[in-house]
């Protein structure tokens, strides 16, 4: 796996850790340990995105994050169900 994919994967792992913590906090809203983990993973996610953007340009997975520069890049593949190297097939 190339460095770019590794970084993308790392960001997705932090996303998942956070999603898991959010569910836990839904039923344990006063749990301080979980909240401190949220802080830690949010920071780690931010740092990983900064590292990605320094090397590869804007990281975006939502329309609101998609650069407002022409041409509009949102629809560019590969889409998530496609395997990256099948792009342009």
């Amino acid at each position: 796996m190339d460095i770019k994919s590794q970084l993308e994967r790392k960001i997705c792992e932090y996303d998942f850790a956070l999603d898991e913590l959010y569910l836990f906090l839904d039923s344990h809203p006063d749990n301080e340990k979980a909240m401190s983990l949220v802080k830690r993973f949010r920071l780690a996610r931010k740092t990983a995105i900064e590292e990605y953007e320094k090397k590869y340009g804007k990281y975006f997975v939502t329309t609101n994050e998609t650069p407002d520069t022409s041409p509009w890049q949102w629809t560019l593949g590969p889409w998530p169900w496609e395997i990256a190297d099948e792009k342009g097939e």
């Binding site: 997705c12 999603d19 839904d26």
Partner: protein, 204 residues
């Protein structure tokens, strides 16, 4: 409303197409205990829920299930790519192919299309949470059965991830059930229905 995130919750990269596996995995999309039903069940039940934390949990788990049905569809898509007519006929995929080509349509492994009878919204918090707990266990068993039948590591990895999520969701719904009964009359949980009765006394 919802905002799409252009990524899978867990990566799906299957190197070897296999229409036989696609035909059983598709059950976790459109089958009786699949991810489509899971998502619709939780998102639908939210409206009659009396407690904010239960509304939140159903919203968040129902949303995650949308991500899971996307993973299942990605598996079916990758498993049915670039098939020859010979492979289609030999694998028994021809019966699906004739109606849907390689489109991804929500059906069970038995070929029965998805139906609303797979889900429930009873409008009673205790009945609905029991439905959700049972649904997570049934989905877990379906993943266990798929794991018994499949031997490609590219498929097993994401299936194991999804199976694990059923167990976590079961745990979270169990906590919501406990919080709910703690708020009700402990001599008779069924004295009134907090999802419907205006003067149902609950300890919020």
């Amino acid at each position: 409303m919802w905002q799409y995130e252009k990524k899978l919750q867990y990566p799906v990269r299957i190197k070897n197409p296999n229409p036989k596996y696609a035909q059983i995995i598709i059950s976790q999309y459109g089958g009786p205990d699949g991810e489509l039903g899971a998502s619709i069940r939780y998102l639908t039940q939210r409206y009659s829920m009396p407690y904010d934390d239960v509304k939140g949990m159903l919203t968040d788990i129902g949303t995650e299930e949308l991500g899971h049905l996307e993973m299942i569809c990605a598996m079916v898509y990758q498993l049915t790519k670039n098939l020859s007519y010979e492979e289609i006929v030999k694998s028994g995929f021809d019966k699906y192919f004739v109606d849907h080509t390689a489109g991804v349509y929500p059906i069970a492994a038995s070929s029965l299309p998805w139906r609303a009878e797979y889900i429930a919204a009873k409008g009673d918090i205790i009945a609905d949470l029991h439905e959700d707990l049972a649904a997570e266990q049934k989905a877990r068993v379906t993943y266990d059965n798929l794991l018994r039948l499949i031997d490609d590591p590219d498929i097993l990895e994401p299936l194991r991830f999804l199976r694990e999520r059923e167990i976590v969701h079961y745990q979270r719904f169990g906590e919501m059930m406990r919080k709910t009964t703690d708020r009700l009359d402990d001599k008779n949980f069924y004295y009134c229905n907090p999802s419907f009765d205006k003067n149902c006394k609950t300890k919020l």
